[in-house]
């Protein structure tokens, strides 16, 4: 696999994404809203007087948790929004044929195509987490004289759960994208990927107690799902049938 080709494909896809301003701007809406919710909540807590530094730390952690959990939707939503257009767009503009006539291998094409749906969402969440952690620590410092964030669990969410969610969304949508026979079908089928992932996030983070056991099981489940979807994507990615079956 030549990494230069993968990088070029990512650069090209990202340049195309940037040129589609409405889609590009819409990618920032959810992260910005969820981040603002977290910052607003932190500022509100900083204005209330608390009995002790310990209870203030607990208050900041519980106040930020909704925002941190909501941000977990972002890698999935972003992957589906960008990815459902990824191969489909190459098909509709008929640019897939000249692309497949270059020496690019199937693996390079799949990895390159996966980067654009995967990276923006994951990086956006990392940036939002970092900003929120910093804001809360700055606000809390005068009272607590201690670092509130990141906690071990939020670090695990940030570095393990967020990329895994991005991978599940990306590989799922790439599978559908190369499977679908027209653009509308691809977009409709892509929403099928979103719903179970969003449902799982809701159950695990909003309704179950935040424990290492639950998070660990969730991470293992996501890793298995991501690997399974990757295998399906590789199996389904058959360039002759993609060219022939597309209408």
């Amino acid at each position: 696999m030549k990494l230069e080709r993968v990088r070029e494909l990512f650069h090209k896809d990202f340049a195309e994404l940037r040129s589609n301003r409405s889609v590009f701007i819409s990618l920032f809406v959810f992260p910005a809203l969820f981040l603002l919710e977290g910052i607003g909540s932190a500022v509100a807590r900083s204005l209330t007087t608390s009995s002790s530094p310990a209870s203030l730390v607990a208050s900041y952690i519980s106040g930020a948790s909704l925002s941190l959990d909501l941000l977990l939707f972002v890698p999935v939503i972003t992957a589906v929004t960008i990815g459902s257009n990824s191969i489909v767009q190459e098909k509709t503009t008929r640019s897939l044929e000249p692309l497949l006539a270059t020496p690019i291998t199937d693996t390079e094409l799949l990895v390159g195509k996966a980067m654009t749906p995967f990276l923006p969402g994951v990086i956006a969440v990392w940036v939002c987490y970092t900003v929120l952690f910093t804001v809360i620590d700055v606000l809390a410092w005068p009272v607590t004289h201690a670092i509130v964030f990141p906690t071990a669990i939020t670090l695990f969410q940030m570095w393990i759960i967020v990329p895994l969610l991005g991978l599940v969304g990306t590989f799922g949508v790439l599978t559908i994208s190369s499977w679908a026979k027209d653009a509308r079908a691809a977009q409709q089928m892509s929403t099928v990927i979103e719903l179970p992932a969003i449902g799982l996030i809701l159950v695990v983070f909003l309704f179950l107690p935040s424990s290492w056991e639950v998070l660990g099981a969730f991470a293992v489940g996501l890793a298995i799902a991501a690997y399974g979807l990757l295998r399906v994507a590789i199996w389904r990615f058959d360039r002759p049938s993609i060219l022939v079956n597309w209408r």
Partner: protein, 318 residues
């Protein structure tokens, strides 16, 4: 000239239905312009995709530079040897021509300097260097087609495979593209063209393959014409009349004669040897000849005859 492309018993089926390409065999020599002619649905685009290694044959094989196109270990060699212009240009419309070319150049592992040099040379040849940084979406259809041809040539392939390269181009753009293709042949590049523009095929091609799922005929345009039609000559006269037919019909070698005022139309078995006698007979008879012109059948006549014959055979059934 050695063969660059060899096609052996090539067959591709799509279920349901008869094969799109059915046991086609031919070879393409280095440095020739080779045209694939056929009606819509004849399998031209499928053949182009098979030649480019984009789809695989159901049976048979394509060899380019001796390498079988289905050999996955040599994908890089095959795709670097081919420059493909698909039926639709398939450019990234939100990017500029230069961004498109940079992307494809890097896919072929070309250096930045090579991409810039080749892009400048080729875009200038097509007179679009000045608009290289404009978004492709703002280009006319002809300009997009030209950029797509530049893309196919960027990595300096030995073989250009072009699916309907002149389709939708205005006469000026079509002429410049035709001239460009002839120039590519002069430089030793092999060009395979799929077209249903018979006039273009006639003017451009060294050899023509007429296909309708199967290979109906393969030869140079002039050989195809002489194989399928007898030589005809128009003798235009100042003082002719239908009675001239009686004088010429008795001459040796005359296969058919007709009077189309003010000309006598003759079909001859061997015009080079028989025509002098015909002319002197007419002159001796007091006829004043204005000119004697060979009447060429067009490639269109050849094509229509071949396709009609094929339809007739298919209609007759086994």
């Amino acid at each position: 000239m050695s063969d660059l492309v060899t096609v052996s018993e090539l067959t591709r089926s799509f279920r349901p239905g008869p094969p799109a390409v059915d046991h086609i065999s031919f070879s393409v020599r280095r440095g020739e312009i080779f045209s694939l002619l056929g009606p819509n649905g004849a399998g031209k685009t499928t053949t182009i995709r098979l030649l480019s290694g984009l789809i695989y044959p159901t049976s048979g094989e394509v060899r380019i530079l001796g390498i079988v196109t289905t050999d996955s270990s040599q994908v890089e060699e095959i795709h670097n040897a081919i420059g493909l212009l698909p039926e639709v240009p398939g450019l990234y419309e939100s990017l500029s021509a230069m961004q498109n070319l940079r992307f494809y150049g890097r896919m072929h592992s070309l250096s930045e300097a090579t991409i810039n040099e080749r892009a400048r040379e080729l875009l200038a040849a097509f007179d679009i260097w000045g608009r290289r940084d404009d978004r492709v979406a703002t280009y006319s259809k002809g300009m997009k087609q030209k950029v797509a041809i530049v893309r196919a040539l960027l990595h300096d392939p030995e073989c250009l495979i072009l699916d309907e390269p002149l389709s939708g181009l205005d006469p000026e753009a079509a002429k410049s593209t035709r001239d460009f293709l002839v120039d590519q042949r002069r430089r030793g590049r092999t060009v395979i063209v799929s077209t249903h523009n018979l006039d273009d095929a006639d003017r451009l091609s060294d050899r023509v393959a007429v296909i309708r799922s199967r290979l109906l005929a393969l030869d140079t345009p002039s050989q195809l014409k002489s194989r399928l039609f007898r030589a005809r000559v128009e003798v235009r006269m100042q003082n002719g009349s239908p009675s001239v037919l009686d004088r010429v019909r008795s001459l040796p070698g005359i296969l058919h004669a007709s009077w189309e005022p003010p000309s006598l139309i003759l079909e001859l078995a061997e015009p080079e040897s028989e025509l002098p006698e015909v002319i002197s007979t007419l002159v001796r008879a007091g006829l004043r000849l204005q000119y004697v012109t060979p009447m060429e059948h067009s490639l269109e006549d050849v094509y229509l005859k071949l396709v009609d014959d094929a339809r007739g055979r298919a209609g007759a059934g086994p």
